[in-house]
């Protein structure tokens, strides 16, 4: 079209004035220099042709290509290269030829384009010129400018309290409450995602170029881009809210397998980054992930449980779930979770070892408290995996694993205890450098009673050589000779195990993430995990969980 702009790239050797002269010989209306020959992309001009006539400079030996201007995207190639793809509206045949040429000359360029340089180019292509707004196409969904990320990441993370999450009320929520929940979620998530993107960007180049890690990185970019359109709007009608919730569901789904993918990626990169750095990054990242998913899943759950009131049949369902507020179950019974996780893990044991360990629950099995069931399930499953595996492998499978549940008494002697005041509710993040980066969620009431669960096994304990490493990510007693879970060329046994193991992606003693991640979950609400090994006898694991208390009002 006559109003379209074209990017013309010329020979490197040409001086700017010469190049301009050559171009002006054709039927052009205006010409503008985008970059000169000292820049990384070579000399580039933005040209507007006169009515209807486009010159392709076919015969010109100095003109290298002519392309319709449009948004530029990247694609990651193997070997760490990044390919620039100029997205244009369906080109005509002539343009196709020239577009190809543009691509190929960049491919053969000796320069590798790290993402930063790409962003530089993108913004270069968008260099504010008087007519810029005329030629900017609607932003492609997968393009996020550096500015967006930087501006979001510079905003502080809101210090969330669980009261925030439940302030919208118990489900089923009214439409108004649902909107306020949606808008609240909207105010938090983009910032959190931007922080994660920035953290990923600061990892070494060679690490983020690993296909697994790069995939996760792109997932985050994608998710942020799906949320950006909503940023300027307020959700005030049901349609928007439904669509927003779908976006959230997509987000949760996309990132469901982050952990195994990251794990695999870091394992593959272990030559290029030292374990301490990995642990530091993962500690921060995975803890932040817990919070982000919690916020998203809470809204999705509130949304879903508020839909039910529209269906007269599901009346009974509402009362059954009345202890739930979104993803929080205010009457969670740990003994139940332990039994169901125990069954699950002992099945895996039976499959792998042919024997089924047993367990006993003592203490106060009828204890209930307020917590997020999925978190507890994850932690217990991981701890039981360790205990059962040890028990079976040391030949003590007839000895039951003894699980003791202890409920903290309601009111400490001095009311709001000094301990709770003094203790920093930092979700265990005092270990990481940037505590301000990811402030965790504070429980409802500070003196909310919690629960301590002790898992005592006779599995021979942890040897002193292994003991210092149990909290490192990707340290696992699986030898290199063993197959990594998830690899296709494994024994049939492994595949069945993986199939059963479920969404966590880890089999028994798999990726070495169970303990540190379990601790991250426990510490997120102010609890923790302590491991005491009696080498030669067994192991005691103490899981302290801080209750989420009763919501006020």
């Amino acid at each position: 079209m006559a109003t379209d702009y074209y990017l013309v790239s010329v020979d490197q050797n040409l001086s700017e004035s010469d190049a301009k002269k050559h171009i002006e010989e054709q039927n052009i209306q205006s010409i503008e220099t985008i970059s000169d020959r000292t820049s990384i992309i070579g000399p580039l001009f933005k040209v507007k042709f006169k009515d209807g006539l486009i010159s392709t400079f076919k015969a010109h030996k100095h003109i290298k290509a002519v392309e319709l201007d449009g948004p530029v995207t990247t694609r990651a190639l193997n070997g760490g290269k990044v390919k620039l793809i100029l997205q244009t509206p369906p080109p005509n045949a002539a343009m196709i030829r020239w577009s190809k040429q543009l691509r190929s000359c960049i491919d053969t360029s000796p320069f590798l384009y790290p993402s930063r340089a790409f962003s530089g180019i993108a913004s270069l292509a968008r260099h504010p010129s008087p007519a810029a707004h005329k030629w900017s196409h609607p932003p492609s969904p997968t393009v996020i400018s550096d500015d967006d990320v930087a501006s979001l990441a510079s905003k502080p993370l809101h210090v969330l309290s669980l009261a925030d999450l439940v302030k919208h009320g118990r489900p089923p929520l009214s439409a108004q409450a649902l909107f306020s929940s949606a808008n609240f979620t909207l105010s938090l998530l983009p910032i959190r995602l931007a922080h994660r993107i920035q953290a990923l960007r600061n990892l070494p180049f060679i690490v983020v170029s690993n296909p697994n890690i790069s995939k996760i990185y792109n997932n985050y970019l994608h998710s942020l881009s799906t949320l950006l359109p909503y940023k300027s709007k307020t959700i005030s009608n049901l349609e928007d809210e439904i669509r927003f919730t779908e976006v959230l569901a997509d987000l949760v789904e996309t990132h469901a397998h982050t952990i195994p993918t990251l794990a695999r990626g870091f394992l593959e990169c272990r030559k290029y980054i030292n374990p301490a750095e990995v642990t530091r990054f993962l500690d921060e990242h995975l803890r932040a992930r817990i919070g982000t998913r919690l916020i998203a899943e809470q809204h999705i759950d509130l949304h879903n449980s508020s839909q039910s009131h529209q269906h007269p049949d599901s009346g009974t369902q509402a009362t059954d779930d009345s202890s739930y507020i979104g993803v929080i179950d205010t009457a969670l019974q740990p003994a139940q979770i332990i039994n169901s996780c125990g069954n699950f893990v002992s099945e895996i044991c039976e499959l792998k070892y042919g024997v089924r360990p047993t367990w006993i629950i003592d203490g106060e099995p009828s204890t209930t408290f307020a917590y997020v069931p999925v978190h507890l399930e994850y932690i217990i499953t991981e701890l039981l995996k360790n205990a059962f595996r040890a028990t079976v492998e040391s030949g003590k499978s007839h000895e039951p694993v003894i699980i003791t549940i202890a409920a903290e008494p309601e009111n400490p002697r001095e009311g709001l205890s000094q301990l709770d005041k003094d203790r920093k509710l930092d979700g265990g993040l005092s270990r990481t450098r940037e505590v301000e980066e990811n402030p965790p969620i504070k429980p409802f009431d500070d003196p909310a009673p919690g629960v301590t669960i002790r898992i005592r096994d006779r599995g021979g304990g942890i040897s002193p050589e292994v003991l210092p490493n149990i909290w490192s990510y990707s340290f696992t007693t699986f030898s290199d000779a063993d197959e990594l879970p998830g690899q296709t060329h494994g024994s049939g046994n492994m595949d069945a195990l993986n199939a059963i193991s479920g969404a966590g992606g880890s089999s028994i003693a798999g990726l070495g993430y169970g303990l540190p991640l379990g601790r991250a979950y426990a510490e997120y609400f102010g609890g923790g995990i302590a491991v005491q090994s009696l080498y030669g006898w067994g192991c005691d694991v103490y899981l302290r969980l801080k209750g989420l208390g009763k919501p006020k009002g």
Partner: protein, 467 residues
């Protein structure tokens, strides 16, 4: 020694209200500080000399091997080792105290400890090289006298620390206390070992040539502490004390032993008995008090002690169902400067030095005396019997400053049991760890290095200066 400048007249500083009172113990904290004599300043030259020397750490194994074949030459050599080690280690600790805040060292209790240390330092550093058995004899008397004098150091320090808890950061205070107590253990171990060896050497049944490989004790070190025996014995003693303190009708929990019951390790008997005694005492106390609160009349759940032996260590786990440690106290259990309970603990501590004084009195009247350290005459028969059981090694039981602490009634809480036990445990490269299940009970884990070839863990002044 030149006593410089001030002979301070007794002064009284007026009522001082401690600026920050903790949540507990909210009574008006009026400390009337009678500053009689802030410790006089002595020229630092001699102290500097000794501070510059490094302490030479020793291991249990060295202690044992050394003492197995006693010859005169060995005894003299041991004497000279002690002769130089004691002043060196004392000097380091004195220097530590000198760097504490002024207001802390002028606290009457801490000031007394400071004086004791300085006196000992002055006395011991002047001892010339020991060349004969007579020299050794004189030296041993001097050392024995010093040990005796210093019996009251632990309670005094504890009281001083509690009184000063608002004047220093708790972490710094704990660090200081740990260092000084650790050093104290080391000096007493070295000194008492030498005294024991001297005695063995001079005893009528000692044959110089006999290689007493089967000797149970080498000086103070019990070569084969059997975990099961120690726990059983301590259990009986603590139970005896408890039933006297709480009355004969209180049901006490049983103590069940399981695990590797044949495990043995070399250790200093009084140390291991103190640690296990404290742990059992805490457990019994918690159980009894929980029963009082809940009004439960039946037999309380037993205390489960598990012994686990591996190649390099022995771990003793003490598991009780005493209701756990309340959240408000939990952060302070390992600290010498306690939190909400400090006031009660101070009152209790004031009763303990009198016990040590009583011990001295009793010993003075009872020159042959086995240690009968309790002030309560009602307890005497019980502890007497227990003490006799204790006295199976060496004719004269060395009075141990721990004895007075170990036999106090369990409801006299001093707040020191855990941190002091940890100091003992860590001294020989072991560890003591506690896990509380609030509302249920407590698990304590004592790890002991089995080989006895780990050196003492001392903190060298020299390495601190390097920073």
């Amino acid at each position: 020694m030149l006593r410089s400048c001030s002979q301070n007249r007794p002064r009284t500083v007026g009522l001082t209200l401690t600026p920050r009172s903790r949540a507990g113990g909210n009574k008006l904290q009026c400390s009337v500080r009678q500053v009689h004599n802030p410790p006089p300043w002595r020229p630092a030259y001699s102290l500097d000399q000794w501070v510059a020397k490094e302490a030479r750490p020793i291991s249990l194994r060295q202690l044992m091997v050394f003492g197995r074949t006693l010859t005169e030459a060995r005894l003299i050599s041991s004497a000279n080792y002690v002769r130089t080690e004691l002043p060196t280690r004392l000097a380091h600790r004195i220097r530590d105290m000198q760097t504490l805040p002024y207001v802390v060292v002028t606290n009457p209790h801490i000031s007394q400890v400071y004086e004791l240390y300085y006196k000992a330092f002055e006395s011991l550093r002047k001892v010339p090289e020991i060349k004969t058995l007579d020299d050794n004899g004189r030296f041993c008397e001097k050392v024995s006298h010093t040990l005796h004098e210093h019996l009251t150091v632990i309670p005094k320090l504890a009281m001083g620390v509690l009184e000063c808890r608002n004047l220093m950061r708790p972490e710094d205070m704990d660090k200081f206390m740990n260092t000084i107590l650790r050093s104290r253990i080391s000096r007493r171990v070295i000194a008492e070992q030498h005294l024991a060896l001297t005695e063995t050497f001079h005893s009528p049944y000692h044959f110089q040539d006999a290689q007493s490989r089967e000797a149970e004790f080498v000086g103070e070190v019990l070569v084969k502490c059997n975990a099961k025996e120690v726990v059983t014995r301590c259990g009986h003693e603590v139970a005896a004390l408890a039933s006297t303190a709480y009355g004969p009708f209180t049901k006490l929990p049983a103590i069940n032993l399981s695990g590797h019951l044949t495990a043995t390790f070399p250790y200093i008997l009084s140390h291991i008995e103190y640690i296990i005694g404290e742990l059992l005492r805490n457990s019994i106390q918690a159980i009894v008090e929980k029963q009082k609160i809940t009004g439960y009349k039946g037999q309380p759940a037993p205390i489960e002690v598990t012994i686990c032996e591996a190649q390099q260590h022995v771990i003793i786990r003490v598991s009780d169902q005493g209701g756990g440690i309340p959240r408000d106290i939990l952060p302070h259990i390992w600290s010498f400067s306690k939190g909400p309970r400090s006031h009660e603990l101070l009152e209790n501590l004031e009763k303990v030095p009198k016990m040590a004084a009583t011990l001295q009195e009793l010993k003075n009247h009872n020159p042959e005396g086995t240690s009968s350290p309790s002030p309560h005459s009602a307890l005497d028969p019980v502890t007497h019997a227990a003490a006799e059981k204790l006295g199976h090694h060496n004719a004269a039981v060395h009075e141990s400053s721990l004895a007075s602490l170990s036999s106090r009634p369990p409801n006299l809480r001093l707040g020191m049991g855990l941190p002091l036990s940890r100091v003992y445990a860590e001294y020989w490269a072991g560890s003591l760890e506690l896990h509380s299940l609030e509302g249920y009970g407590v698990d304590a884990f004592l790890q002991i290095s089995k080989l006895g070839n780990k050196n003492e863990q001392l903190t060298m002044r020299a390495s601190m200066d390097a920073v």
